[in-house]
Subunit: 143 residues, 4 copies
């Protein structure tokens, strides 16, 4: 099944640059997280609701390849999709487009494990699996 991509547009903050004049490399992980949040919303639920149900999906692995420049005030588009879904874990992939030159500036992925109240990995219950495999065209985006 082809994963449906969600796109999140982000304007780079001054405080996200460093003295090299680029966005500091850690900030991409904040942007990836913001894009994951938008990914949930587009499927009719929020990550906040998932936590209210007693589940969390902390990151257990992160990978970023920095291929181009991202500067202050650049408008970037973070594309995010689920590339793999296992019994208790999920992988999101990312591509960052810099709209100032329409190039892919960054690629990355994050692995997450589903944990319950006990803070231990748990098999995804059907309700959570349904959330993670939804077709966004069938659901209202949460505003």
């Amino acid at each position: 099944m082809t994963p449906v991509i969600t796109e999140e547009r982000i304007r780079v903050r001054y405080g996200e640059t460093d003295q090299m004049g680029h966005a500091y490399y850690a900030n991409y992980l904040f942007w990836f997280e913001q894009a994951r949040g938008a990914w949930c919303r587009e499927r009719g639920w929020t990550y906040k609701q998932m936590e209210e149900l007693g589940y969390k999906i902390p990151v257990v692995e992160a990978h970023v390849e920095y291929k181009g420049e991202v500067l202050y005030d650049d408008l970037i588009v973070v594309k995010v999709w689920v590339s793999e879904l296992r019994r208790a874990s999920i992988r999101f992939d990312y591509e960052v487009i810099n709209t100032s030159n329409d190039k892919i500036t960054t690629k990355g992925y994050t692995w997450h494990v589903l944990i319950g109240e006990s803070r231990k990995a748990v098999t995804m219950p059907p309700s959570i699996r349904e959330w993670l495999t939804r077709d966004p065209s069938q659901h209202e985006t949460v505003l």
Copy 2:
């Protein structure tokens, strides 16, 4: 009573600079917090222990005056002391010295309110007041 000053030495991170080449203005609030943590330790307890007892002291007001430059790799000394202690609130004052030129680069203060498990302001119990008014020379620093 003259407040006893605690000093915390901090090396400025690359990720704390911005494209102007200075430390970004929000980072001073992180440094103030780190200095408050050191202030607690020097009095024989940690802020973590205070939270474990069910109390928190969130910031309700912050003020910073930026007087000089702080650059990447500069070693700064954040001086922190309690300038006022009320029934349910406390004010910390700060002075940041940049050791690269021994100048005061920044001044500031933060007001905090003591809250309990209910997340409402509470009158300081004697045990907490004792912690906040301790003479550090009478206590072992928590390492």
Copy 3:
């Protein structure tokens, strides 16, 4: 003259919270900066362009009053306006509304000094003053 307010909507990131469950107090300064950027755009120019002309307006003083809670995923509106304009300095005021309860959660201000290539305060040239006093209704917002 009544200053014209610009509003910037920001979704609170997970990484902007702390273990107390609130937005960490330093993040408001990032949000203020983002709102200033939007303020410029709404007047037909960008802060990036100001820097390209050789001018910067670093913060020399910041003040924040935290009056209410801001939680993960809350949608906040940062209102920003110029409250004072002097020969070489400018003050922005801020009010943060949390749309989850429509309350003012935060108030603040920042003082900035105009500096030129020499990194020293300079009297505002007419072109910069014109930018800072523009009526946004007479200019196209920079997208």
Copy 4:
């Protein structure tokens, strides 16, 4: 040749936690950077000096595996060493030990490319290569 490991001790800030109660996943990249700075110092030079000479080593790839918890106020030790050195690029590896339980909580690596004033990758000049291959026991740590 066995690489010589540098260790950097870091106290986790409150502002580095998130509402899950752990250190937010992006902060490890700040800590890695701080450890790289200490790695340079232990070899008798600073990354700041490298930039003053006209060279930079921006990150082109970053990888982090989160294996255990890192909480507020934990004292972590970031071990860093050079695992690979090529004509124009260098890889640092990291291991984070949480001293609260003496476990390895995190592993990671970063790839960097040497760039010159032109912002293009350049072959390492002998002087830079000498810096990067130094035996720290033969040099005074820069304080």
